[in-house]
């Protein structure tokens, strides 16, 4: 049978490959479905939560892998499980509460089918019927009707899950570069959950994914960053495109940078001279890892993990539809943080999030970009800053990570 839905735009990637991005990738519904199937609901590993969010046996909370709602549970033995929140009977969500503890089992409210915390079907009301009427057929096998279970793993207190039971293990998927960056802030030291901020951005998920691997914009759009020397084009960077769509960015902060003028800073209109804060605690990092580094990493497709000054946060990038993305921020510290460090994290929490001094412009600009992508699907974007090559670099003035991402994306999507 012929495909009746001819796309209005012919899907041909423009010339100059990785240095060009066609706008139709942000609005094509079919492509969106294929991305979810291939990446989020396919063989990739996604972030689902922190171990400290389900601290005790019987704890549970809801989360997402791609667009699919899942449950994180901790069973009686202390094992973590990631299950689809979807009853094997009629598909009703089994758990309606966002989180909780002290659960012995999971009972679907619709027909009270009961599952263990690891997802096995344990009880079906009227399994044998009401005499003389039969119940479920004699050959109904409870073992075949558990909640769908994802492959999951815990590393350094972070819970990851994959829909593919035969996916490569998490460490192989993440690779050494990402693991090194991840282990720096998740060395296995017990975590302290600080809380959540979430925002819904009316933009395709890839626009956010790109934004948070684009250091070029960060030095220009976020003038708060440059003004206080937290992240500036004249700083030293270590930018690494990595396999499987991942990347790491490290920059080395100098506490005196705010006073330094240079040829590079003169180019930045975004530095607001004469603007000082009354409380400099927000922009005064304490070098808690002893390396003078500000770091971020992206583990494709679900997450950016960041350490800006002493703000530690996970940005979970959740596609909701081709034109909508939820950005779910989880903030954490360490269980042994003293009161001073905790206060510092609270204060510096103002830097990022839906009201962040150095992030609020991101959701604003992406909300502006989506309608343009919708209205000009055949337009082509240019990502050539720093050249056309893909590779590591030591400057923030680069789009190498975007080129690396689209080289990966095209290969995976066959585009």
């Amino acid at each position: 049978m012929n495909d009746m839905t001819t796309p209005a735009i012919e899907r041909v990637w423009p010339e100059l490959g990785g240095g060009r991005v066609p706008a139709w990738i942000y609005s094509d519904e079919t492509l969106f479905e294929r991305e979810l199937e291939r990446f989020h609901h396919g063989r990739c590993w996604s972030y689902v939560g922190l171990e400290c969010e389900v601290p005790t046996p019987g704890s549970y909370r809801r989360s997402f892998v791609g667009v699919k709602p899942v449950l994180i549970t901790r069973d009686e033995a202390g094992e973590i499980h990631v299950l689809e929140n979807r009853c094997s009977h009629r598909g009703a969500p089994v758990c309606w509460r966002q989180r909780g503890k002290g659960k012995k089992d999971l009972v679907c409210p619709y027909h009270e089918w009961t599952f263990s915390l690891s997802g096995e079907l344990q009880g079906v009301p009227f399994l044998r019927g009401t005499r003389p009427h039969p119940g479920m057929p004699r050959d109904f096998n409870k073992a075949e009707h558990g909640l769908r279970r994802l492959k999951s793993t815990v590393r350094g207190g972070v819970i990851w899950a994959s829909y593919a039971l035969d996916a490569p293990d998490f460490e192989t998927y993440a690779g050494p570069g990402v693991l090194r960056a991840l282990d720096r802030t998740f060395p296995g030291r017990p975590l302290r959950l600080l809380g959540y901020s979430r925002q819904t951005i009316p933009a395709n998920w890839k626009l956010y994914f790109e934004n948070s691997r684009d250091p070029y914009h960060a030095t220009l759009l976020h003038s708060f960053f440059s003004t206080f020397g937290l992240y500036r084009a004249d700083a030293e960077f270590d930018i690494q495109p990595l396999d499987n769509g991942h990347e790491t960015i490290r920059s080395f902060f100098a506490s005196t940078a705010a006073d330094n003028r240079s040829e590079v800073t003169d180019e930045l209109k975004s530095i607001k001279e004469g603007f000082a804060l009354e409380d400099m605690g927000v922009v005064t990092p304490f070098d808690e890892f002893g390396d003078g580094v500000i770091s971020s990493l992206q583990l494709f497709p679900s997450v950016m993990v960041q350490q800006h000054a002493n703000t530690l946060a996970i940005r979970n990038i959740l596609p909701k539809s081709v034109r909508e993305t939820e950005l779910s921020w989880t903030y954490y510290g360490y269980a042994d943080d003293d009161e001073e460090m905790h206060r510092r994290r609270m204060k510096q929490g103002n830097l990022v999030g839906p009201s962040g001094y150095v992030s609020l412009e991101d959701s604003e600009v992406l909300a502006q970009l989506q309608p343009v992508a919708d209205n000009y699907p055949d337009s082509v974007q240019v990502i050539e800053m720093g050249g056309r090559e893909i590779g590591p670099t030591t400057t923030a003035i680069t789009e190498t990570l975007l080129r690396a991402f689209y080289a990966f994306y095209r290969r995976e999507m066959g585009l």
Binding site: Q98, R99, L193, L194, G195, Y196, S197, R198, Q199, T200, I201, P202, L221, H222, S223, F224, T227, K272, F275, L277, E278, D279, V282, E326, S328, Y331, H342, R343, M346, K347, G349, N350, G353, P354, S355, Y357, L360, E361, S363, E364, V365, A367, Q368
Partner: protein
């Protein structure tokens, strides 16, 4: 039907005026005036319901002291880049929980509408203020204000204080 609760009626009326003046300062983008509604040792927080209910501390906006409150106002003026918009704050259900000589513990509901210049207004945020108010020579001042929003997720960006 129970008779209306007239206890604290005068105080509640005065608080309503105070809350409405506060809301007007933000609706009118008089951010420097907004900062004046707080004592110099005030704690101002905007938090999600899920975080608040778990007794966690992260705040979407966190200002510990008048300096941080004034900094928030100044940073919005000097550095923030955002789509121009009109916002209106609606405050109702003012309740006095406790009134001692020193402090008033009070709560109120808020609703905020947001309109971009080329799009109709929509419900942006709804939630509850949890306040500690002191009487000063200049009138009421917030010693602590926590705005707990019920939204699971903030539509796009929370630019202005709540």
């Amino acid at each position: 039907m129970a008779a209306p609760d007239r206890s604290n009626a005068e105080l509640r009326a005065a608080l309503r005026d105070f809350y409405e003046d506060y809301a007007a300062s933000l609706d009118d983008l008089r951010l420097e005036d907004w900062a004046e509604f707080f004592t110099d040792d005030a704690l101002y927080r905007v938090m999600g319901r899920e975080t608040y209910d778990q007794d966690l501390t992260h705040s979407t906006i966190y200002c510990d002291g008048g300096a941080m409150i004034r900094d928030r106002a100044a940073a919005l003026r000097r550095t923030a880049v955002y789509e121009p918009r009109l916002m209106r704050r609606f405050v109702s259900g003012v309740r006095v929980l406790e009134d001692s000589d020193d402090e008033i513990q009070a709560e109120a509901n808020f609703m905020i509408s947001e309109a971009m210049y080329d799009r109709p207004a929509r419900l942006f945020l709804a939630g509850q203020y949890k306040d500690c108010i002191v009487r000063t020579e200049a009138g009421f001042r917030f010693k602590a204000r926590t705005a707990v929003y019920d939204n699971y997720s903030i539509p796009i960006t929370l630019i202005l204080p709540v």
